[in-house]
C-alpha cells in the first residue's frame, strides 16, 4: 500500500511533491510561492531547531531579534549586497487601507504612503551591522556572537515546497570579531557545527567546500558551504557560512578601539540554514512507500498498533501496551499508541510508513499469550518478534542502528556518485547519464564556469576544503588548474 505515491524511478520530482503533501508536511498557500507548514512537518522542523539551537548555545552564541523591516537605503550601503537582493525583495510602500469610494472593497490609502519604502528582510546583515555600530566601541565588546530564528522573504520566480519558497524560516548567525583570524575561525567552526548536525542528526553525508566567486554570498569575502547529494543525483546546498571580512563594518562604519588604542574596522561572519533542510531530509532517505525519517529527528519514533477483533481484546492489549510505553518513555523515546477503532491495522501500517515513523510495534492476541510483540523497522522493513520485557532496549538499539544504517547507505550512494573526469566530453556524458557530483579541473575563471553552466546546467558546487590540491588541466579551456572542483546539477 503506497497510498498512491508515484515511484521515484518514474518521476522523482512528482514523487517529492506528492510525498510532501501526502505525508502532511506542507502545502502551497494561496499567496504565490509561500508555504503552509503543517503540524507534522513543523514538528520535524522544531526538533531540528531545538538541536541546532543547543549547538549554537554550546558554542557561545545568544539569540536576539532584529526587525523584519529594512529601510531601502540600507540595502544600498554594501555594493555587492544590493546586486544580490534588490531584484527579489518584497517592498512595503503604504501603512493603511481604506474603503474604496464606491464601497467596492479595500484599497490602499494613497495618503498613507511611506516616506522611505521598507524591504522585508531577505537576510539581516544590513540592519544588524547598523545596530552593531552602536554596540561595539572597544575590543572589550568583542566578540559579539548573535543568532536569530526568523522568517525571511526572497521573491523567487520558481518555487517548490521547502526547497525554494518566497517566504522561508531560517536562523541567521551574525558575529563580530577583533581579528581576521578569529572571524575565519568562527566561519569554519559554524561550518563544522552544520556538518555535525547534518551528518549526526539528519544522517546525510556532506562535502565541505568553498564557493567560487560567482556563487558567493552577496557581500562576503568567502562563502563556505556543505553540499549534499539527493537520490536523483542532484546536489543540494544544505548550509552556508560566510567570512564577511570587514565589508559590512566598512559599509556601516563599525570600528572598535583595540587594546593598543588604535581604531580598526570590525571583522564579521554570518551563517544560516533554513527550512530548505526539510527538503534534504525528505529526499535523502525516503522510498516509494513514503518518508524515511532519521530516528533522532522523528517526532514520533515508535508507533504501537493493536490488532484486535473486539473490545475485550483491545482492553487486554492496551493493558500490556502501557508497560511498553513506560519502557520507551524511560529511555526518552517518543511513542504513540494508535488505538483508534475507525481504521484497520493495515491502513495504519501504510499511514505510518508514509509518515516515516522509524519503528512500528504491532501487538495481537497471539502476542499477548506469548508476552511478545512484533517490531518492524521502517527503513529495511525487517520484522522481528520480541519479548515484551526487552522492547525498550531492543528499540533503543534499533533506532541507533537505523541512524547508522541510513547514513551509511547515503554515504555509499554519495561516494558511488562522485565521478572524476578528465575531459569535457566525459563530463557531459556523466551529467547526462548518472548525474551526481562530478570532480574536474577548472581554470579558475568566471567565464569558463559560466560557459559550462550555460552548456550543461551544471554549477560548481564547491572547491572541496578537505581534498589535497593537485594541479592539472581545465577540462573546458585546457588552461592550467590548481585544484579539482565539484560540479553538479543542483536544487
Amino acid at each position: 500500500m503506497s497510498k498512491g505515491l508515484p515511484k521515484r524511478s518514474e518521476d522523482y520530482s512528482l514523487w517529492y511533491n506528492e510525498l510532501v503533501k501526502k505525508a502532511d508536511l506542507a502545502e502551497n498557500s494561496p499567496v504565490r510561492g509561500c508555504m503552509i507548514i503543517k503540524p507534522y512537518g513543523f514538528a520535524i522542523w522544531e526538533k531540528m531547531q531545538a538541536k541546532l539551537d543547543q549547538m549554537f548555545k554550546e558554542t557561545g552564541h545568544s539569540n536576539a531579534y532584529f526587525p523584519i523591516f529594512i529601510p531601502k537605503s540600507y540595502l544600498s550601503k554594501e555594493a555587492d549586497h544590493i546586486e544580490g537582493f534588490a531584484k527579489e525583495c518584497a517592498v512595503v510602500t503604504h501603512y493603511r487601507l481604506k474603503q474604496a469610494e464606491d464601497r467596492s472593497g479595500l484599497v490602499v490609502d494613497p495618503e498613507a504612503k511611506l516616506e522611505e519604502e521598507l524591504i522585508i528582510r531577505p537576510t539581516s546583515e544590513t540592519v544588524i551591522w547598523n545596530t552593531y555600530r552602536n554596540w561595539i566601541q572597544s575590543y572589550r565588546d568583542l566578540p559579539l556572537k548573535l543568532n536569530q530564528w526568523v522568517n525571511v522573504v526572497r521573491w523567487e520566480m520558481r518555487t517548490r515546497l521547502f526547497l525554494r519558497t518566497t517566504e522561508f524560516l531560517w536562523q541567521e548567525g551574525h558575529t563580530a570579531h577583533a581579528t581576521r583570524e578569529e572571524a575565519k575561525e568562527e566561519t569554519l567552526k559554524m561550518l563544522q557545527v552544520y556538518t555535525d548536525f547534518v551528518q549526526d542528526y539528519m544522517a546525510i553525508p556532506v562535502i565541505q567546500g568553498i564557493k567560487t566567486e560567482s556563487e558567493r554570498f552577496a557581500g562576503a569575502v568567502d562563502t563556505y558551504c556543505i553540499e549534499t547529494l539527493m537520490q536523483d543525483g542532484r546536489a543540494l546546498q544544505a548550509g552556508t557560512s560566510h567570512f564577511l571580512g570587514q565589508n559590512f563594518a566598512k559599509a556601516f562604519e563599525v570600528k572598535f578601539a583595540t587594546r593598543e588604542g588604535a581604531l580598526e574596522y570590525v571583522w564579521g561572519t554570518s551563517w544560516g540554514v533554513s527550512t530548505r533542510l526539510m527538503g534534504a531530509l525528505i529526499m535523502a532517505h525516503s522510498d516509494d512507500k513514503g518518508l524515511i525519517l532519521p530516528p533522532r529527528l522523528a517526532p514520533i519514533q515508535v508507533v504501537i498498533v493493536p490488532i484486535f477483533k473486539n473490545e475485550e481484546q483491545l482492553e487486554a492489549i492496551s493493558a500490556a501496551v502501557q508497560g511498553i510505553v513506560h519502557q520507551l518513555k524511560e529511555r526518552n523515546i517518543s511513542v504513540k499508541y494508535d488505538d483508534r477503532d475507525t481504521h484497520k491495522p493495515g491502513w495504519k501500517f501504510a499511514e505510518y510508513e508514509l509518515k516515516g515513523v522509524p519503528v512500528r510495534i504491532a501487538m495481537g492476541p497471539r502476542d499477548l499469550e506469548n508476552s511478545t510483540a512484533e517490531i518492524a523497522r521502517r527503513d529495511s522493513s525487517e520484522k522481528q518478534t520480541c519479548n515484551q520485557q526487552d522492547i525498550g532496549s531492543t528499540v533503543q538499539h534499533m533506532l541507533s542502528g537505523m541512524h547508522n544504517s541510513i547514513y551509511q547507505k547515503a554515504l555509499k550512494f554519495r561516494d558511488q556518485n562522485i565521478t572524476t573526469v578528465d575531459s569535457y566530453e566525459n563530463f557531459k556524458e556523466v551529467l547526462d547519464t548518472r548525474g551526481g557530483f562530478v570532480r574536474a579541473h577548472w581554470d579558475g575563471t568566471i567565464e569558463t564556469e559560466q560557459r559550462i553552466k550555460d552548456e550543461t546546467k551544471a554549477t560548481i558546487r564547491c572547491i572541496p576544503i578537505n581534498e589535497e590540491a593537485k594541479a592539472g588541466i581545465c577540462i573546458y579551456s585546457g588552461k592550467s588548474s590548481s585544484q579539482q572542483v565539484i560540479f553538479a546539477k543542483a536544487y
Copy 2:
C-alpha cells in the same frame, strides 16, 4: 548605585524606558515603532516561550506555520475584522527594486507591481480559516488545535518598547470545533492556561474577565482577557482568548459533516499573548535599583561574584566556587560565575541588581577560611551567610520563597488598589488620585462607556467572570446595571 535610573516616584514612564535600555532588554530600531530585542531580553522571552509552548502541548495543541502575507481581499471577508485592522496594516505593493535611471540609488520597479496587494499579517484568522476550509470536511477532522509563534505587524502611531510596537512577536492559537460548547470550553481553558502562566511563572496576579462589545476582538463573539495592574496604578491586558462563534467559518465557508450526516459551520477560537508580556514582567516587580525578575523566568538565577585582591586569592575562591556551581546545576538552577578582573565587585553587584538576577553569592578570603559564602536576595536585599555545603538547598528554597514573596506583594498591591465606587464624582476622584482598578456599576451601553472614556480616559478593562453579579445603578447614567465592571486607565 542605581546606574543612573530615574526613580519610579518621580517619573514612572521614564523609569520604565530607561530600565528597558539600561538592563539591555531592548532598544528602538531606526524603523519607526520597531524594536530590537537584545540578547538578555530575548533570553527572558525564550524562557516564557518554552514554558507556554509546553503548556499548549500538554493541552493538546500542535504548532504549525502559516504565511506572513495575507491577500488584501481576505481581510474584507469578515466585516468586523476589516474595521479592526485595515487602518493599521503594512501593505506590500511591489516585489522588486531597481537602480534609478540617474544611478542615484534604488527605486521601486514600477513593472514589478503586484496584481493584488499583500498585507503583512496583523493576526492570522483569515489565512488560517481559508486553509481550514480544505482541512476540515467531517467531524472526524475536529477538533483542530493549532498554534504558531510568529511576528505580526500593526501600524501603531504611538509606540513604546514591548508595550506597543509596530512589529511584535507573539503566539496565536487557532482552534476549530464541532460544537459551540466545545469551542467555549477551549476559550476558557486557554484563558486559564494564560492565568496559570502569568501567576505561577511571572508572579503577577490577574483578574479574569470578558471584554465589552467595544473592546472585543474584531471578528469575535466574545473576548475573554486577563488584566494585571502595574505599580503606577495603570492596568495592562496580559492575554486574550476569543470565542469566534461561527464568524470566520461563515466568512470562509468552513463546513463539516456531522456524525449524523448534516452539514454545519465549524466553531472557532483564537487566543494570544505577545512580547507585551515582557512589559508587564518588567513593570510589575522592579524597583529603583533595576529589574526584579521572577525566579522561574530569570535567564541567570544565581550570579557568583568573587572578592579578591590577587590572582592567588582568585584561584582559591574559584576552586571553592566549582563545588557551589555543581550543587546549583544539580538542582537545575542556572548560574553564572563572573570572575572578570576588569570590573570591581561593587560594579558587578550594581550590574546584577540592575539586571534583576534573583540571587547573588559573594565569596571572599574570609568566606574561604570559614567555608561560607554571602547570599543576597534581589527583591528584599536580605543577606545571609551560609555554609558552602548548604548553598544548593538554601538557594533553591530562596528562589521559591522569592517567587511567592513577589507574587504576594503584587497581589496585596493589586487588592489595595481595587476601589469600589458608587458615584461618578468618586470615580473621577479615585482615577485622578490613586488610580488602580475601579469597580463600578455600568448600564451596559456603548454610549456610556464611550462618554466615560472621553471624560476620564478610563476604559472598561473587563466584566469580571469570577465575581457574583449584583444589580445596581450605573454611576454615569443612573440607569439600572446588572453587574459591576472593572475600569482603569490602561497601557
